[in-house]
Structures are given as structure tokens and as C-alpha cells.
């Protein structure tokens, strides 16, 4: 996993602190767990994304 992260950051040009790898892995695992509650989205769920910022009206 560390080698994967090292390569990923190398490609992105980020000066990563190797001591942060365990925390980053933890973040990714946390998001994976959190995503377990996501439903299957339908086609119409895609459309308004671009209008979210201004889609809220009184």
C-alpha cells in the first residue's frame, strides 16, 4: 500500500510526508465505510449537480 501511495503522489507532483501514509490509508478506509450507505443513483440524480450552487430558491 505504501508503495502504491508513493507512486500516486509521485505522479501528482506532491511532496508527501511518508509518515502520513497510515493516516491517509485510514482516511480512505473511512470513506469506503461511509460510502456503504450510498444508494444506487438514477439518471435524474445526475442532472442537477451542475445547478446545485444556484438551485436553492425561496
Amino acid at each position: 500500500m505504501e508503495e502504491f501511495l508513493r507512486q500516486a503522489f509521485l505522479l501528482s507532483g506532491i511532496d508527501v510526508n511518508p509518515e502520513d501514509f497510515p493516516y491517509i490509508v485510514g482516511q480512505m478506509q473511512g470513506l469506503l465505510q461511509a460510502s456503504a450507505v450510498l444508494p444506487s443513483f438514477s439518471l435524474q440524480d445526475v442532472v442537477p449537480i451542475l445547478t446545485l450552487d444556484t438551485g436553492v430558491t425561496k
Partner: protein, 471 residues
């Protein structure tokens, strides 16, 4: 020395207008409090003593000449150090911007200056607003005036400390995952995150552009309304600004509790809450019911999507904003912000898009529930202020991550853009403030302020100011 620094705008403004109090006299009181106690609470990064004295003298002259501008004329205020202030350094709490001096004011700063506000300085914050502890590695932690060994919360923590301790009469904060409401709740003041698009963000260092909001932090709901009146409105320089009519927020109109329908979420917002926090929030709800408000339980299962959507959106957008600087100066960021920006670089487009889809579902679900009630009420936070340096909070015997717990109840209103008002409703047995949030329909800040003012009247507790050691 007088206690003018602890007064509300609503008390001070009529006396300033009648020339009973001079803006110079008021500023002297606030500056004295800053000199006496900024070392205790570390609220200010930059103090503008000479500049504020000049501005106060000018305000005094104008008022003497009959040119009173309104309720903010002559009111001293520090501002979070991410609002651009022309000619005054704006660090965003970072080392990277430690010498950055903007040549323009943020739109909200210009509006406050036009209204006659006296700028006393720039307030401490979590570095780049990316965190909730306000333990800033470059400028030191802000400290909670109720117990200076404890956190203010963040990221507008300097604002929470300054307003609670009398070092600023009121202020503005920014809120991306609770950064107005968290320090307001932990420091015992009122914080309002308005509807997305209601207040301009032009000239504000961003964290996450689709979640960021600017709003008031104050000592009363009435004061928050005065500030919102001054800063609300369309700004063509802010792409997210909404071109919608500005309502009359101040003075806050009284309301009959018997016409009010209050929704209390039966899921999510009362899960894993400290018993003392829950008891005080439920007491405030009971007080509204005793006045004749109808209280109904509601359910919003889609709230389960909030944490995934918030964490992905804030991380992706923050890493995108910082990317160019981060590739060159990663080592100049504090350790906690650096690791978050590193993690954001690895998020996938699929995750980001699913987060945006989740936001839409949550927005629809909350709007549906709000169509049947006037407001929702819930704890602002599930705990009271923990000690500085503790990354965890203990709730009913369980250790939980402090930052995640700060975001949990705040995120739904950042994700949906709906307005949320936090106000104090009690104190814990340790004497620490407890906050309740009132959530409303988009652009219905008038109702939030009305309900907030009603809660101030009927909640069964007496507010007092924190006592800091004499210096």
C-alpha cells in the same frame, strides 16, 4: 474601566445615536479588554490599535455632525483573518500568507466599513479554515473564555473567543462544516450560517467553494440580524451569489409561538449526544411548546449520506484550490492540514460525483420535511468544549474524533445550503456553554431569527459573561 465591551449592538447603537456614548469611549473599552486578555484567549493575530483609534475619531465626528449611518456606526469589531482587508495583512492563519497584504477589501468588509464598523484587528483561526480545533501551529491555539484550558472550536475560533470575552462586540465567520456554529456553541454566543448565496464570498480565502458560507457571530439574535442586514445581498463578483431580494432582518419581528411548528429529528441529530447537551436542548424545545408551539417528530433517513458527502466534497475542493501552492510549499503547512490536503489528492472523480448526487438527495429530503414545519431544531454539537490538545471527545463513555463530531451535525446545512442559527440554551455542570441549532428553509432567515429570539426569551437558563482573571 466600563463594561461597554460586553454590551450588545442592540444596547449600544441607540446610545451612540443619541450621543450618550462616543465611539471613541466604546473603542477604548474594547481595546482595554484586548490588552488585558488577548494573551489569555489568543483571539487576535493582528491588533490595529492606531488604525481603529483614527476610525473611531472619524465616526465620532460624523455622528456629532448628524451623519449617523445606522446601528453599526462606531461598533468595534475584529474579523477572521481570511477576509481580505486592504492594506492590512491577511494570513488565513497560515505561514504561507504571513506577509500577504491585499489591496482590496472583501465585499463584506467593504459593507461593514460603509456601515461604520471600526476594525480592531484580524482574528485567529484554524489554518486555512481546514479544521475545527483552532489549534493553529503558526499563531497558537485560541482559548475558550469559559475555561482557557479548553478549545474554542473552529475554524472561526478567534471570533468565538473575542465575542464571548468582550474583545470584539460581534464579528463575521465562515462556515464550511460548522466553522461559525461550532465556536459559537462552544463559546456561548450566537452564530448564523445563512443560506448559500445570501452573503457574498468575494475576497474571502476559500476552503471548499460549494460548501463555504459567510455569516455573523454575535452576543444576541438581534445583533446577528443587524449584521446580516448589513452584509446580505447579491454580489456580481461572487459566482455563487444569489440575486434574490433581501428581507428585513432587523429589528427582529416578534412572533406568536402558537403559530409555530417545530420539527425535532427523531434520527441522526440526537444520536450519540452528551446527556447534558440533550437535556438542555430538549428543555429549550419544551419551553417553546409551553408557549404554544406545536412540536412534531420528523425523520430524515437521507442524513446518513451527509458525512460521506461532506468529507469527500471538502477534501476534493480544498485540495484542488491548494494544489499549485501545495506542490511547491507542502512543508510550510501545519501537519494536520498537510495530511488532509495529501488525502484529498487521492480522491477519485467517482467519489466526488457520488458526493454531489448525495447532496441532491439530502437537499430534496430536507426540503420535503421542512415543507411541513417552520423550522427544525437540534443540538449544534453533541458535546461541550474539550481540553486543548485532545483530539477526541468522550460522549457517554465512548471516545470519538473531535473534528468528525464537530462536522456531523453541521454538515447537512453546508451540503444543502439551508440556513442554520446556533444559540446558547444552557450550561453544563462544568459551566461550559451548550448550543442549539435552528434550521430553516432556503432564504427564510427571517423565520430563523424570529424563532431564535423567542428561544432567547423562553429557554430556562440565564446567560452570563465569562469571567477572565484580572490583569
Amino acid at each position: 474601566m466600563s463594561d461597554l465591551h460586553f454590551q450588545t449592538i442592540s444596547n449600544l447603537a441607540p446610545r451612540i445615536a443619541r450621543k450618550e456614548i462616543s465611539p471613541v469611549e466604546l473603542l477604548d473599552s474594547v481595546l482595554h479588554q484586548i490588552q488585558a486578555h488577548n494573551d489569555d484567549v489568543n483571539a487576535y493575530i493582528t491588533i490595529l490599535e492606531d488604525e481603529s483609534r483614527e476610525a473611531a475619531k472619524k465616526a465620532e465626528r460624523e455622528i456629532a455632525q448628524g451623519k449617523y449611518r445606522g446601528p453599526l456606526h462606531g461598533i468595534p469589531m475584529g474579523l477572521k483573518d481570511l477576509f481580505y482587508t486592504a492594506g492590512i495583512r491577511t494570513t488565513a492563519g497560515s505561514a504561507i500568507l504571513k506577509d500577504f497584504v491585499p489591496d482590496t477589501d472583501a465585499t463584506v468588509v467593504r459593507k461593514l466599513k460603509d456601515a461604520g464598523v471600526i476594525l480592531t484587528g484580524k482574528l485567529n483561526m484554524h489554518e486555512y479554515a481546514f479544521g475545527a480545533t483552532n489549534e493553529n501551529p503558526h499563531y497558537g491555539p485560541s482559548r475558550n473564555p469559559w475555561d482557557t484550558a479548553r478549545m474554542t472550536g473552529g475554524s472561526s475560533g478567534g471570533g468565538g473567543a473575542a465575542v464571548a470575552a468582550g474583545l470584539s462586540v460581534a464579528t463575521l465567520g465562515t462556515d464550511t462544516g460548522g466553522s461559525i456554529r461550532t465556536p459559537s456553541a462552544l463559546c456561548g454566543i450566537v452564530g448564523l450560517k445563512p443560506t448559500f448565496g445570501r452573503v457574498s464570498k468575494h475576497g474571502v480565502v476559500p476552503l471548499s467553494w460549494s460548501l463555504d458560507h459567510v455569516g455573523p457571530m454575535a452576543r444576541s439574535v438581534a445583533d446577528a440580524a443587524v449584521l446580516l442586514q448589513a452584509i446580505a445581498g447579491f454580489d456580481p463578483q461572487d459566482a455563487a451569489s444569489k440575486n434574490a431580494a433581501v428581507d428585513t432582518y432587523a429589528p427582529v419581528a416578534s412572533m406568536d409561538a402558537k403559530t409555530l411548528v417545530v420539527g425535532v429529528p427523531g434520527n441522526y441529530y440526537f444520536d450519540g449526544v452528551d446527556p447534558q447537551v440533550e437535556a438542555n436542548v430538549r428543555a429549550a424545545i419544551a419551553a417553546l411548546a409551553a408557549q404554544g408551539a406545536r412540536v412534531v417528530e420528523v425523520s430524515i433517513p437521507e442524513l446518513a449520506l451527509a458525512m460521506f458527502a461532506e468529507l469527500v466534497t471538502i477534501s476534493a475542493e480544498a485540495s484542488a484550490y491548494h494544489h499549485d501552492t501545495f506542490t511547491k510549499h507542502a512543508r510550510e503547512y501545519g501537519a494536520d492540514v498537510r495530511v488532509l490536503l495529501e488525502g484529498g489528492e487521492l480522491l477519485t472523480a467517482v467519489q466526488y460525483l457520488k458526493a454531489q448526487q448525495s447532496r441532491r438527495l439530502l437537499q430534496e429530503a430536507m426540503l420535503k420535511v421542512l415543507s411541513g414545519v417552520d423550522v427544525l431544531v437540534a443540538p449544534t454539537l453533541p458535546f461541550t468544549a474539550p481540553s486543548i490538545g485532545e483530539g477526541h471527545v468522550e460522549i457517554s463513555g465512548q471516545l470519538k474524533d473531535f473534528t468528525m463530531e464537530c462536522v456531523r451535525f453541521a454538515a447537512p446545512c453546508n451540503l444543502t445550503g439551508f440556513p442554520s442559527l446556533s444559540l446558547p440554551v444552557g450550561f453544563s455542570s462544568a459551566g461550559l456553554p451548550i448550543g442549539m441549532q435552528i434550521i430553516g428553509k432556503p432564504f427564510d432567515e427571517v423565520k430563523l431569527l424570529q424563532v431564535g429570539a423567542l428561544v432567547e426569551q423562553v429557554a430556562p437558563f440565564e446567560y452570563k459573561n465569562p469571567v477572565l482573571s484580572k490583569r
